[in-house]
Amino acid sequence: MTHTPLDAPTGFTPADDERHAGQWMEGYWAETVPWAKRFALVIWAYYGWMIYQQFEIYFSGMVVYQSAIIHIGVLLLYSPILFLGYFCFRCGQDLERALAGQDQLLLEKAFRYLHRFLILSLVVAVLWLWSAAIEWYRTFQIMSELQYTL
């Protein structure tokens, strides 16, 4: 029965043509870590702000015939934002751990989370642009009506 030495490699063996990341590259990755985590916190804070706004509208009584289901629906519609924050945070966290432990597999995992973050951001951006265009069109209509009535 053979025992694996304690200093055996963790499952990663670089190919012959691959090279070290180097001090500069690791430095830039280290700079990215805190800002990626903070951006994730900002994303989650934005979702928290939306929850507060929905509660404010619901309990203000300003809108008649309003049910809680509509507000829950709005929050569910915006729930991809939570995943956006999660992917961004995991990217920063895994990058930090990879740099601390010099773990190649964790480094690659961090950039996979970055890729997921970008894909979800693209979907959210398309949906936002579409809904914003509708809102702007309605606002322009109201503005032109007000212009003619004055």
């Binding site: 030495p5 200093d7 055996a8 490699p9 990663f12 063996t13 670089p14 190919a15 691959e18 090279r19 070290h20 990341a21 500069w24 590259m25 690791e26 830039y28 990755w29 700079e31 990215t32 800002w35 990626a36 903070r38 951006f39 900002v42 994303i43 804070a45 934005y46 702000w49 990879a98 740099l99 010099q102 190649q104 480094l107 690659e108 950039f111 996979r112 970055l114 890729h115 970008l118 894909i119 951001s121 693209l122 951006a125 398309v126 936002w128 642009l129 914003a132 265009a133 702007w136 606002t139 503005m143 004055l150």
Partner: protein, 163 residues
């Protein structure tokens, strides 16, 4: 016995060489794939940002132009309009900085297959993108909170004196 110790020493030396972080082909390919998604995302953000900025500024000036007569800063809510315009301009600037850095980062990373300098500079700009977008996000969240504080302050001033 000697050959076993030599093999152990060789293994230790190999382990030492394998330590550290590597620019593997898988990692570089992942970065290039991310750049292929990041570039259209930045383009969409530029289009959205310009549209939103144009709409916001147009709305501000449209409501402003509807007021006729002389302009007094401390009357007719003009101070609020000026501060609103300033805050909107700051938000537009911060967002634009973040998106420009992101655009440069993904453009460089996309062409990093044969260019090490592009890979290095792209990675540097990626951290700058997150930094500017974080600052923009904080300002974007602080803005409605500041509006509420302003409304409460104005409401407090407008309250008639008790005595």
């Amino acid at each position: 016995m000697e050959s076993i110790s030599n093999d152990s020493a060789q293994e230790l030396a190999e382990n030492d060489e394998n330590q550290g972080l590597w620019l593997t082909e898988q990692l570089l390919e992942q970065l290039r794939n991310s750049a292929r998604v990041g570039m259209p995302l930045m383009l969409l953000c530029i289009i959205g940002g310009i549209s939103a900025a144009g709409f916001l500024l147009f709305s501000l000036f449209w409501y402003w132009m509807r007021h006729h007569g002389d302009f007094y800063l401390l009357e007719g809510g003009n101070l609020y309009k000026v501060l609103n315009l300033l805050a909107t301009s700051i938000m537009i600037y911060l967002f634009a900085r973040g998106i420009i850095e992101g655009n440069k980062a993904w453009r460089l990373l996309r062409s990093s297959e044969t260019d090490d300098d592009a890979l290095l500079e792209g990675t540097e700009r990626l951290s700058k993108m997150f930094r500017w977008l974080t600052i923009w996000g904080i300002f974007y969240l602080a803005y409605p909170i500041l509006q509420k504080v302003w409304s409460a302050f104005v409401g407090l001033l407008a309250r008639p004196a008790q005595f």
